[in-house]
Amino acid sequence: MVVESKRDLEFIAHLMRRAGFGATRAEIEEFGERGYDATVENLLNPTDVRWMGDYMVRRFHHEQSGMMSIQAPGTNWLYRMVTTTDPLLEKMCLFWHGIFATGVPKVAHGKVLWNQIRMFRRHGMSKFNDLLVELSKDPAMIVWLDNYDNHKGAINENYGRELLELFSMGVGNYTEDDVKEASRAFTGWTIGNTEYMVLRSERDSDWPYGRISWYSDYRTEDHDDDEKTFLGQTGNFNGEDIVDIICQQESTARFISRHMYHFFVADEPPVPAWPYTPPRDPAAIDALVQTYFDSGYDIKAMLDTLFHSEFFKDSGVRYEKVKSPAELVAGVLRLTGEFDRPRREILDRGSQLTWMGQFLNNPPSVEGWHQGIEWIDTGTLVERINFASEQFGNLDSPGVKSMIGNILADERKSPGGLVDACLDEMGVLSVSSETRDALEKFAQQSGGSPELTDSERISMMLRLAATTHDFQRA
């Protein structure tokens, strides 16, 4: 599809809000020149990927190099979300972080939590079976769900249970015996220097020389190599075999497909309600399930299907998803362009996520965050609105300067034209008629005060638009 109209640009804008963190007007027009299909291809298989870079960040933010605290990985991640040319990869990391939620207090170690996110970056768009094997070896996960304490002859079921319940199949699709047999298969999957590392984590000890990053360790002598029966299949299974059997299940395909729909298309109810609440769009789930099996559990192939589907392009799902705090903050900062170089202010921007209810690498529980409208309560709504408004009010931000310059140069000078120009600069934003009426009324009132300069008046318009129901959604 080659983009030819405003409506087509709105398609691209929708894609970039969902597959990324939104885009500037100029970026959307550039993508529009290439067309929708080429833009999807570039999201799935980007070339010449750039972001601010590890060296730049570590030079100025030393804690983002050592990562002793749990704030550092989230702040580093925000830099990536804000400056990367590969936003879908960061969205997929957020996707998996929400499902395989891992954090404090059991893992009081920013570097190993960050290493898990880096693992998502390497495997999050590959085969699902590969991802689950890497997850099972991930040191943070091993400590988070106690698999270091899962021994031959004395199993700890915590990881085996969550692998089935929360990470792949969902409740109702396996038995208690399957949990036990899966746990037996993962005995011996632990971390190196278990005693010392777990003790330091429990004590939150960074003595004497800072934290030592963990590594996975397989102990043959502690692995139960006897015969096991899992989901009807029998053999001397190890962890990789359990993952293979899990990935063969239709329940797994449906579980991951529904998560994907929930994250990229439209809000579903929280996961605990899924066993007795049908999907919003069963046909969409069927399509994703089909691709899951046809592609050999390939996540990227499922995304390809999703972004090209009619259920994704349907105007009925547009602006139906509440942006997560990470999506909102990263999206605003990409527009304002504040972080053209490392700046200490990123700490405050990272803290905003926490105040809005999403402390990255510190989810509320193993279930992760409930998405959708649950992001909004009276406290977080105020935080969201104040944050967005404040950022667009900073006339020193290069992105805000650029937006104002473009709007001043726009030929649309009437109050309605000014509103259109502002909404375009905010990422070809479409708004409801009620929102538009309110913005136009504000524009007719000279942005609240006739004393304002043109730049200040436009900034006030941007600030007001950022507080709207429409901007707060994707």
Binding site: H62, Q71, A72, E195, L199, R203, W207, P208, W214
Partner: protein, 344 residues
Amino acid sequence: MTTVQTKAGTEFLSYALSVGMSADSGRGCYYPTDTLIGKNGRLYVINRSLEGLDKGVRVTMCDIDSEYYGTFGSYGRGDGQFVWLTSGAMDSQGRIFITDEYLHRISAFDSDGNFLFTWGKHGSDEGQLDGPSGIACDDSDNIYIADTHNNRVQKFTSSGIFLSAIGSAGDGKGQLSLPWGVTVSPGGDVYVADWGNDRIQRFKPDGEFVESYGEPGNGNGQFTRPSSVAVDEEGYVYVADWGNERVQVLDPDGGFVQMLRGEATLSKWAANFLAVNNEEGDARSRANLEPQIEFFDPDDPHEVSSKIEKYFWSPMSVKLDAQGRLYVTEGNRHRIQIYQRTPL
């Protein structure tokens, strides 16, 4: 051993000891960025601290025997306070000058840590600063500052009067990219860790370009984002090869002499901590701290250093004392590894 033999078959430098330990207040270090060596042998360890934990920002005073003499400075914007303190230098009067790359200023203290004065103005005009990082004093008490985001080194009097500038943005001879460490050699030449260009550059005191050492890479004599440079009386050049998590020694002609990867042992403070906290000490004694690990990327030294404690991890500064000993300050390991010339 990770050191490389010299041409003569002996190691040029050998490990001596470590000083420091992670601590967010009082005795200890917290993300140290530099160690200033006083003429009285006192060490002034400049602690950037963990971002968001204000109390760790300070200068820790100790010596090579791990005697502790207290701290000075704190987080803030007032006199004697810091936000992003980075490097330090001492003049002939024993006054300490410390850069702050967030506040774009230099703060001066006496050798006991009493605040004296501050100067510096944010900007890109002559004499203004944008992210001052490395700092060095010459024999006449002039001060050279790596003016990072302005891609130059500026020379001031100790009271902050602008004298001259070296370099401009770029990667040509004499040009700089986000310079970090700067030092004045015993002969008076100015050496700059040209961080973004992966090289060390040498200038005459008047700013005339002399020579460039190194090229991008991780081989012998190559650098990745060097952070600091020191030069001894004989002209040997010591480089904190920060991006490669190592230190390199070059001969006076720039030829490769030795690479150090780090050999830290327990400092006195660390040994004391583990003796008192014996549950951790016992668990540590049973751990293998030099394991054979299948790294995801064995060529990523940052990742390797995060898992092998004795290796350098974020070596930010190299300094020489009067005896020719080399002090390597490691940000992420909160310690200083000290090396000495191997007797002939």
